[in-house]
């Protein structure tokens, strides 16, 4: 009789003590009020002090001297802090550090483009496709932001600044994929990432979708990309990397050995690990999710023993639960912390709707495309 034991997928064991990048929240304020946004306090201007940036830079400059290291200026809307203050926050960082900004692009003009060039900042823009697909991206008066986004992107193009795009898809359906891809080809972005809308933070809209619709969305996106693959599409490239590793028999080397702690530094110096979406929230059980504050404790010290933060040890148990039970773990590496919390109310649950929409059905969509053959042939 043949008996079988479970083989464990390697990787994602614990949390690395040195990150590959940090996320900085220069301000909580956003000049838009997108209806799906997860951020609390986005109507308030709470600005990061230079003292906080300097405390982060002390650790980051050491890491950047040894290997490639990035700082991502996220938000709120990071440009809402203004060029002068952002320059002051950038000043403590050494020239080894790479800077990135995730922006809604509405404030980008010639002066900002010159600022990006001067500080060698890489730009990623949030836009959801053609005008009619941006109905959720509105300002506080409910007015569509699309024209202002396009003006910002026009400035980037005028200055020949390459840019990436993050696109939120609220209703993934097969017929949407080709439309979106054609739009982003025309827009001229270098890289495209697709975020299926998630239920997290202050956005409590449900994110359960029919399986066939989501699988069909990814399948058709692959087909559209294949017909004219000029753009890097994050989800497609990751899936190709996985299937190539399976076919090459190197799949056990795919996942990182440890999770990246991805410290998010709040405007006040507080540090939230793993999921920036948890910053600014509190829970009777988990407190404020922070692992300390860079104004009180050096960042490397805060990263030395992440499990001391109670929710993180529960999350690591959740990663092990994914490893033990989910067939897609080798592809995905485990459900994200924020999705677990905002969907299950705790961190040791396993599959989330985000997993279904953005991991499981993505892989299934690529497989379906492959099984159906090349539709462009």
């Amino acid at each position: 009789m043949v008996t079988r034991e479970r083989r464990v997928v390697p990787g994602m064991r614990g949390i690395a003590s040195v990150p590959t990048y940090v996320v900085m929240q220069p301000t909580t304020l956003c000049n838009l009020n997108c209806t799906y946004c997860y951020l609390p306090f986005r109507s308030q201007q709470r600005r990061m002090s230079v003292r906080v940036a300097a405390a982060v830079a002390e650790a980051v400059n050491t890491w950047a001297a040894e290997r490639r290291f990035s700082v991502v200026w996220h938000g709120g809307e990071p440009l809402a802090i203004g060029r002068r203050h952002l320059a002051e926050l950038l000043a403590p960082f050494s020239s080894d550090v790479e800077h990135h900004v995730q922006t809604n692009a509405t404030l980008i003009d010639d002066a900002w483009c010159e600022f990006f060039a001067e500080h060698r900042i890489r730009v990623s823009v949030s836009v959801d496709g053609p005008r009619e697909r941006n109905a959720y991206r509105v300002d506080r008066g409910g007015k569509l932001s699309y024209d202002r986004v396009m003006a910002g992107i026009a400035a980037l193009r005028r200055h020949e600044i390459p840019f990436s795009v993050l696109c939120v898809v609220s209703r993934p359906e097969p017929e949407l994929a080709a439309e979106l891809y054609a739009y982003f080809l025309e827009l001229g972005c270098e890289v495209l990432g697709i975020n299926i809308e998630e239920r997290e933070g202050v956005n409590q809209r449900g994110n359960a979708h029919p399986e066939a619709a989501v699988v069909g969305f990814w399948r058709e996106l692959v087909a559209a990309w294949r017909r004219d693959p000029r753009i890097h599409v994050r989800e497609i490239e990751w899936t190709l990397r996985y299937v190539a590793a399976v076919l090459d028999d190197t799949v056990d080397d795919l996942l990182p050995a440890q999770l990246d702690p991805i410290p998010t530094i709040g405007y006040d110096g507080s540090v939230v690990l793993l999921s920036p979406e948890l910053a600014g929230f509190t829970d009777p059980r988990y407190g404020d999710f922070t692992s300390g504050n860079v104004l009180e404790t050096p960042l490397p010290e805060l990263l030395a023993e992440p499990e001391r933060t109670p929710w993180i040890s529960e999350f690591l148990a959740g990663v092990e639960a994914c490893r033990a039970t989910c067939p897609y773990f080798g592809f995905c590496g485990g459900a994200h912390a924020a999705n677990r919390y905002f969907e299950h109310g705790r961190f040791d649950g396993t599959v989330t709707d985000h997993c279904r929409n953005s991991k499981i059905r993505l892989l299934e969509g690529v497989l379906e495309h492959a099984r159906d053959g090349d539709p462009s042939a």
Binding site: V2, R4, E5, R6, R7, V9, T20, V23, R68, V72, H74, H100, Q102, S124, S164, L166, V191, G193, N195, E198, V222, P229, R230, H232, R234, E237, W238, L240, R241, Y242, V243, A244, A245, V246, L247, V251, L255, P256, D260, I262, L274, P276, E277, T325, C326, P327, Y328, G330, F331, C332, G334, H336, V351, V366, L367, A370, R371, D372, G373, D374
Partner: protein, 76 residues
């Protein structure tokens, strides 16, 4: 998700049974053609040399963009 789709090792033969990996392999012909197209596309892109056109090399490109490459636990 399929309940049986967890990786298992056959204790007699040492062979690993992993239904997901098996399903990927069953689609090998289509996936190989897709990977070949992707490789060709990368060779045409300015930032990628012909020596670095594999799926792993392509993914390395994303290391330029932290919010993109860290797909396993990333900010959105």
């Amino acid at each position: 998700m399929p309940e049986t789709a967890i990786r298992r090792r056959d204790q007699d033969t040492g062979a690993v049974s992993d239904p997901l990996i098996e399903r990927v392999r069953q689609a090998e012909a289509g996936l190989t053609a897709l990977l070949r197209d992707a490789e060709r596309a990368r060779e045409l892109r300015a930032e990628m040399s012909a020596k670095c056109s594999s799926a792993v090399c392509a993914w390395n490109y994303f290391e330029n963009i932290p919010t993109f490459y860290n797909w396993n636990n990333r900010p959105r």
